[in-house]
Symmetry: C2
Subunit: 200 residues, 2 copies
């Protein structure tokens, strides 16, 4: 009643986004009101273009606007002896930003979680095992969050890779750079001791 | 380089909104990725529909999808002897939500602010004085923020209304409901004393 329809509809649209309630949605609608028509047109187009053109890489599952992502593509000069297993595309972008990893990725699209009824067959594990592990692959790096679901998924993948006779590793646990040991939780300290690196 | 073009473009679009930087924009893009096509289409449409159909009421300046907003329209049964002067449409929606005010509004679309080079002629003051003050109007309530700009604008309007011989009021300053006096700033307390209400 109070808001014009178009105002209410745009508020509702913004409320599809995570963490946006009535207040923020209203604020964004005022922001849209103050943008010029050209910019709003581009905003709308970019929503449609994203949805139309961005899909999962047919090899690794990473978000891409091509059939095969630039990392998996044959002329990418990546080291195809290493596959890094990650939960989602977010992780791929994070790793790529470091500029230090030159291997391939495999995006699971989730983690095994019986409570949320996510079973191994619901995530992208079978293609990893059946399609991607060939004689070129020497190592699989498991790079999942150190959560219950992450550990569960990691163990599951480890089991399936056992008969394949390739190296399986995981990211080390330990102190985040810049952290103050005083403020770390005991579990992280235990993990940092377990994963300690011998210097001599 | 790292993000596909459509991903980057949509991030940039979200960054047009207030308070949204790289991190939040990226998060919203993932949210768009997980929404179904129908919902994203509606999102894009609602942006375009808002921009196309929402304009300023030709009488009061409030946001509306008609030529004259529902509050100003002749069949609104509003009390046209009172005009409440507000900074923007946000205030109108806030007042309407209370459901207690039955008069009309006048939206200035800003406040006088010499520092930001906003002069009286840059905001919607002249139409208030020249077009809206007629023999029906008995009172003008000034409902602007208690800031330097708000007070300046309020004084300016007061001056212009002086020869018109109508009642001019402003919102009272004082304690916000639920506030603890202990934590209020001294200026609010001074204002609450100045605007005190006599009970007998």
């Amino acid at each position: 009643m109070i808001y014009p329809n178009e105002f209410k509809d745009l508020m509702d649209a913004f409320k599809n986004l995570p963490g946006i309630g009535d207040k923020s949605a209203e604020r964004y609608v005022y922001a849209i009101d103050s943008l010029d028509e050209e910019t709003v047109k581009k905003f709308a187009d970019s929503l449609l273009d994203f949805k139309k053109n961005i899909k999962k890489c047919s090899i690794c599952g990473h978000l891409t606007n091509q059939d095969v992502c630039p990392i998996c593509s044959l002329n990418s000069n990546r080291d195809n002896s290493t596959i890094c297993v990650v939960e989602d595309s977010k992780s791929v972008f994070m790793f790529e930003k470091t500029g230090k990893y030159n291997g391939l990725y495999h995006v699971l699209g989730g983690l095994i979680s019986p409570i949320d009824e996510v079973n191994p067959e619901d995530i992208n594990i079978s293609t990893l095992i059946n399609d991607r592990i060939n004689e070129d692959v020497k190592e699989v790096i498991i790079a999942l969050n150190p959560s219950v679901e992450g550990e569960m998924t990691s163990l599951y993948i480890q089991k399936l890779l056992e008969p394949k006779n390739i190296k399986v590793s995981r990211l080390s646990y330990g102190l985040p750079v810049g952290a103050d040991i005083e403020y770390l939780d005991p579990l992280t300290i235990i993990r940092a001791i377990d994963d300690r690196k011998f210097l001599s």
